[in-house]
Assembly symmetry: C2
Homo-oligomer: 209 residues x 2
């Protein structure tokens, strides 16, 4: 029975399921029960079945789940088969690293363009992605479909830039600046990667074992 409102806790587990199912696929595993998957992931079989039941019925009594099929279903729920269009703003060390190493396509994203202000890199390509001057940003957005903007820019300009982009119609932000991006528009989806939050959590766990 499909549910209407999926809780944040469930949503956050979906990519983890997807990661583990990819893993199993690569290992050639054909079928898995909620119990075995739970052991592998360190969660209960009950939770897994509850989670999946939010989206449909993917298993079979007495058999479990077909790994390849379940992987594909969860991938579909996550939208990896959607081909989102992403542009990157800010091609410093981190932006560069993402362009070079991150497998955007495996998440269903195409990186169509990158923008910066450093003359030394403007006009060049990194991993097939062309780097434009920031001055061309508005024009680009008006003439191309852009679903998500990846923000690897200095913290100081991030909020202003995000506001400007929201006005231009951008509804998705992948934010790497150590800043809590806010938007008054509920249509705007923001996903933050806060390195320092992560490292501080680790620090806490070490200090308070």
């Amino acid at each position: 029975m499909k549910k209407q409102n999926i809780s944040d806790a469930v949503i956050r587990r979906l990519p983890r399921y997807y990661r583990h199912l990819n893993d199993l696929c690569n290992k050639g595993v054909i079928r898995i029960s909620s119990h075995s998957l739970g052991v592998k992931m360190g969660i209960t079989a009950s939770q897994i079945r509850q989670d999946f039941s939010c989206f449909g019925e993917f298993g079979q009594q007495g058999y479990g789940y077909n790994v390849e099929e379940l992987r594909s279903e969860i991938g579909h729920i996550l939208g990896v088969d959607q081909s989102h269009h992403l542009i990157m703003i800010g091609v410093g060390n981190l932006g560069h690293a993402l362009l070079q190493n991150f497998r955007f396509s495996q998440c269903g994203f195409a990186v169509d363009a990158a923008f910066d202000i450093a003359p030394s890199i403007i006009g060049t390509d990194i991993n097939g992605v062309h780097i434009y001057h920031m001055d061309e940003l508005e024009d680009y957005i008006r003439t191309h479909k852009v679903d998500v903007v990846s923000l690897t820019v200095p913290k100081s300009i991030a909020q202003d830039l995000a506001d400007r982009l929201t006005d231009l119609g951008i509804r998705g932000f992948w934010n790497f600046t150590n800043l809590e991006l806010v938007s008054s528009n509920p249509e705007v989806k923001i996903e933050n990667i806060h390195f320092s939050d992560s490292l501080l959590t680790l620090s806490y766990r070490i200090v308070n074992p």
Copy 2:
């Protein structure tokens, strides 16, 4: 009244509190009530007071919280005043970006050394951090205090490396590989940064608004 077992949900909010309090400090704000902080952060005043009460009493009736004092208290709880020793393994694009831009010291971490196998960078310094050959890793760990290892290495070698490091006594891992690091030792603390989990979450929210 201090609590014994702090829930994961509370721990995950601590760095956020810390971030917002830093922000307020920088803006010169002297005092804040749980209500105002809640508005700023998008959570209830009740939750904030409950969270803080796990660790002590930091406020004053009728006044609220002194921002600088609260910031310092939470910083202390997180261990930012501890000077943890961190070494980085893998100085590719991402490791390089972290060395160059991430403010480790603001999280209470000193980056003492980095390790890689690329001859072109071994022996050089990045932002004051010396890069050694991986062959020197074991020796280094035996002769220096290392609290945390940052893993910015290829996914394929991450688990083996982590196991080896655990045997050498390392108890903290900051893992950037798209792999679910596991350890049978409960003393070992692992904090993952999964870029793809984050991007997939964003994808989900865009596809299912």
